[in-house]
Structures are given as C-alpha cells and as structure tokens.
C-alpha cells in the first residue's frame, strides 16, 4: 500500500512516499519505509532515513554540523554514508577530508557496505583527500587554491571533515582554535556546503566545548551498556538551527548497508494523515497522540477518577461521531441525564433531536429517570431486566438493529458508562459481558467507548479491563491541575501526561 505523507513543519513542505511494510494498521512512522523524497526547498537528506525522520526531512542546506562520539561509534560510516547518498541519489557531489587515515583504508572499509568510492571519484562525484590540517587550512584561505579548485571541479555540495579534534593538537591556544573553527564554518557557508565535522570529544568531557556554539548543529553518538551484556548505539541531536527535530536518544545499528536508525517512540508532531479508518476524537492533540484517532472497530476506555471535566472530553468525542453521521447507542450514566447530554452536545453543534429523528441515537436506561418525549422512542428501559434478560435483550433486540445498520454501510458507535453496569449489574457481569461485547464490536466494526473508574473497581478488574481494551486514556486531578494521559494505545505508545486546559472555543478543552 502506498501512502503519501504530507509534512508541514511550518518552514517547508515535504512529500514522502512510503510503503507500508507490515499489515499492522498503525500509522506509525516505524511501519513505513521511505520510498523516496521529493525535493525540498532548503533541506537536504542526511543519507540515513531514520535521521531524516528525526529531523523532519534532513539537514538544512549549507549548515555545518558537528558529529561527536567516541571511537567506534560509527562517525566515519555516517560521514561516508552522507556523502555517498548525496552523490548517488541527489546529485550532490562531496569531499571527504581525512587528516589521519589513508584513503586506501577508507576505500577498503567502505567497500564492505557496498560503497565503491573509487568509482565515485572517477565519476567526479567524490574526492577523498588525505592532508594535514594546517596545509588544508592554508589552501582553503588561498584564492583559487587547491580547495576551491576541487570544489569547482566536482561542483561540490557536501563535505565531511575527519576530524576537527586535530585542530586542537595543532594550536594550543583556545582562542586560535576557536577562530580557526569559526573561519572553517564561514568558508563552508561561503561555498554553500552542507558540512559534517566529526569530533572525537565525548560530551561529558567537562565543559561543553565551544564547538557546540560555533556550529549550526550538534549530533552525539554514544555506545551505551544495555542489559549487561549488550551495547546499544544511540544518536541524539541536541542542536539544529533552522530545523525541528525529535529530541532524545534514538537507537541505530551499523548494518551491512550502512547506518540504520530507528527513531524513538516519541510524539510525532504535525503529522496529519488522511485515511478513512481512524475516528477523530474532536480534540486535536489527542488525535495526534493516537496517531490520527481511534481506529474503527476498537474499544477505547476513559479512566477517570474525577468527575470534573470528562464531560467535555466525552462530549467532544460523542459529538464528533454524531457529526460524522455515526449511529450511536448510549448506555447512560447515572451522572448525565439525556437533557444534560443534549445540552452539552449542542455546544458542539449537535442537534440531538435531529439525530434522534434520523434514528441516530439510542439510549439504554438503567435508572428511573425522566426521558424527554423526543427521545422516548429511542430509549430502551432495561433497569428491570435481570442479567440474563439483559443479555438476551442485547442479542435479540439491539444486535439485529445494529447489523441491519451495518449492512447498509452505517457506522455504529457505542458509548458505555461502565460504572453504571458495575453498580447495577455487578462486577461479575461486567467481566462476562465485557469481553464478549468487545469481541462482538470488533468483529462487527463497531467502535466502543467506555467510561470507567479504575480506582473504584479495584485492581483485578482494572487490569482485566486494561487487557481487553485497545486504547486507555486516563484523566485525573492532582490538586491544582487536571491531567490526561494515553496509557495504552494501538500504536503501542504511551504519552506523557498532558495538562487539560479549558478554553472558550470548541472543543472547550485542549491538551497542553
């Protein structure tokens, strides 16, 4: 399946053609393999797809970026991959400058990744230069010197310097070093080269070195202990001017085709995916956390320990469903009456009576309450049914109606206040029925939205519920603020706690 993702990070537009690798319906960036990139205005691909993802496209063109890391972290490989990809795929020839190694060594090592550097040289797409730092520096400053000539010769756009640490051994005076590096950056900028400067310094070397201030971006590579026997390689971007990036450590491996990086499980901002299978909750941020919304035909639980603002949460979700034209069954809660629901929904632009007229909503009433006349036909009174009867009712009356609707291509949505069921029919009943219902809903493509209070129902039940639900959202109040967190989702991600803020416009709450 080919999907087209539109990236909009505010500065630039990027089209990524991707292919869905697995049949997992999750629209997580990890499930996709980038097929190709359409040219950007001022971003250039790094040569490593994972890093491109982390940077929302790539390096800003013309920037000078430090790649720091201890020996063995793969800096050289990164540098060469950057140049190779640029040369072969993007027609951006490059220069690899090494102060210590012999070109011979590099040719040999890179052949293992299938990169024939000599061939690139012959095609004038690459130059591997072994030279002393001071000699290079002098030539760089000379008008029409060696450096400029080579750049012209191959129409160079990228450059890697391995490694700038050597400048430290050249000059002892830190002022001189700083000046040299500063000049270096300016020279690269002058020639519009996107530059990677490899550095041996490890991050925790005392103070932050001034290199970090001079250059436009800083990438750290590290080799960390993992599970006692293993190591994990991590890449972290701590600075990138003119560009957004996903913060934190990302794991990468050095494979036989080069560096392969897997972006970490953090929020993917500003991703809007057009698809038909995800139901928006009506709250933008929540949709994003859920990578689009709630997948159709899954169950979704809101665990709330306070009865405060979930009204709007629930309201927003229900409203968005109704506005989409879904048909809904509501198992009323003892908190909200129909009228109240009507009122809240009206805030979201839903005329409940209209909905009722088109038979878009049904109520299952467990309590002795007044039902407005408009909804009398749509309400099923189940308070007097015992559990068996209730189940029969569900099977014989409700289910067929739903099926009928489904056959006609309708979308069904069931909203549950589980607390009602607990209190009215007991925990055992819930356990029995809930699994069956979720399975049934799943199979039929009905989306289930339940409300519950895990603290009240106890840990055994709550873990049972958590297991059987696809998505769990928690909201709670912590003396001053109300928080919301996605604690389980179909894309496998847990979010950090967000603050729930009330606002004056629809949907009346926002997550911060």
């Amino acid at each position: 399946m080919i999907r087209c993702i539109l990236f909009n990070s505010g500065i630039n537009i990027l089209y990524l053609f991707i292919i869905q690798k697995s049949m997992n319906k999750c629209y997580d960036i990890r499930n996709y393999e980038v097929l190709g990139v359409i040219a950007m205005n001022h971003i250039t691909s790094t040569g490593i797809k994972g890093i491109d993802s982390v940077l929302y496209g790539g390096f800003p063109k013309g920037s000078s970026i430090i790649v720091e890391g201890s020996p063995g972290t793969g800096k050289t490989t990164l540098g060469v991959q950057f140049l190779y990809y640029g040369a072969v795929e993007l027609n951006e020839p490059g220069i690899y400058i090494t102060f210590e190694e012999f070109p011979q060594q590099i040719y040999q090592e890179m052949l293992a990744f299938g990169w024939d550097l000599r061939k690139l040289e012959r095609q004038n797409l690459l130059r591997v230069i072994s030279i002393k730092p001071d000699v290079l520096y002098k030539q760089m400053k000379t008008l029409d010197g060696l450096f400029e000539q080579i750049i012209k010769e191959i129409n160079c756009r990228r450059i890697v310097v391995d490694s700038i640490s050597l400048f430290q051994y050249l000059y002892t005076n830190p002022i001189e070093i700083r000046e040299t590096l500063y000049n270096l950056r300016n020279i690269f900028r002058k020639h519009s080269l996107t530059a990677l400067l490899l550095s041996e310094q490890s991050r925790f070397n005392g103070e932050q070195s001034f290199e970090h201030y001079i250059f436009d971006g800083v990438i750290h590579l590290a080799l960390k202990e993992y599970m006692y026997n293993y190591r994990k390689r991590t890449l972290e971007i701590t600075k990138m001017r003119g560009c957004k990036f996903i913060e934190g450590e990302h794991i990468y491996r050095i494979t036989d085709r080069g560096i392969h990086l897997v972006p970490a499980l953090t929020m993917v901002e500003d991703v809007v995916i057009s698809s038909q299978d995800q139901l928006s909750t009506g709250i933008k941020t929540l949709d994003k956390l859920l990578s689009g919304g709630i997948p159709r035909g899954t169950s979704f639980m809101l665990d709330t320990n306070s009865k405060a603002n979930f009204k709007y949460l629930v309201g927003a979700i229900i409203a968005s469903r109704l506005l989409e034209g879904d048909r809904m069954i509501v198992i009323s809660s003892n908190v909200n009456t129909v009228l109240e629901q009507q009122r809240i929904l009206a805030l979201y632009g839903v005329n409940l009576e209209e909905v009722g007229k088109r038979k878009g909503i049904f109520f299952l009433e467990h309590y002795q309450r007044h039902i407005p006349s408009a909804f009398k036909d749509l309400t099923f009174d189940v308070k007097d049914l015992d559990n068996n009867q209730y189940q029969n009712f569900l099977n014989d009356t409700l289910a067929p109606m739903v099926y009928e609707g489904l056959k006609n291509g309708e979308s069904w949505f069931i909203y549950y206040d589980l607390n009602t069921i607990f209190s009215q029919r007991g925990a055992e009943f819930v356990k029995q029925i809930f699994t069956r219902e979720t399975a049934w809903a799943r199979a039929s493509g009905i989306t289930l939205f339940t409300l519950c209070n895990f603290a009240e129902v106890g840990s055994e039940i709550s873990s049972f519920l958590e297991r059987t639900t696809n998505t769990v959202i928690r909201t709670w109040v912590d003396s001053i603020y109300q928080y919301l967190q996605v604690t389980k989702s179909t894309n496998g991600r847990i979010s950090e706690p967000y603050i729930v803020e009330t606002i004056s416009d629809k949907p009346y709450i926002q997550l911060v």
Binding site: F102, P103, S130, I131, K132, V135, Q139, T142, G145
Partner: protein, 78 residues
Amino acid sequence: MERNRLMLQIECTYFFEENPFALETKESLATRLGRSANELEPILSNLVALSVLTKFGEGEDTVYRYNQPIMINEKLEV
C-alpha cells in the same frame, strides 16, 4: 645515485597513476612510498616540470596533485 633517481621517478609516477585524486605533500608521499622526503624533492620538482604533477603552495607545505592527461575518445572525421 643517478641510478635510483629514474627508478624513484617512475615509482612516484606510478603511485599517482594508481591514485589520480591523491593530494600529497613531499612528507606524506615519502611515508607512502617508504622513501626519504629529501630524496623525493628533486624528483617531484622534475615531475612538475614535466607537467605530470601540479603543485600548490610553497615550501614545506607544497601539495602535489596528478595532472590527468587529456583523453579524447571520439569518431574523427577523416
């Protein structure tokens, strides 16, 4: 020795033919070929005079580069 001069010159030429994009100072070339830099100096000057190599810079830091011969590969209208 005169005898060695020509051999050394050939050695240098061959090195640059194999690595046409290499940039070498006389020191770095000496390291590669395993010869002394002083021996190489007159030879490198000679090669520059023959326009086999081009040089950049002066003195100790002179960088030498192979000058590719012109290659024409086409159908000639005879």
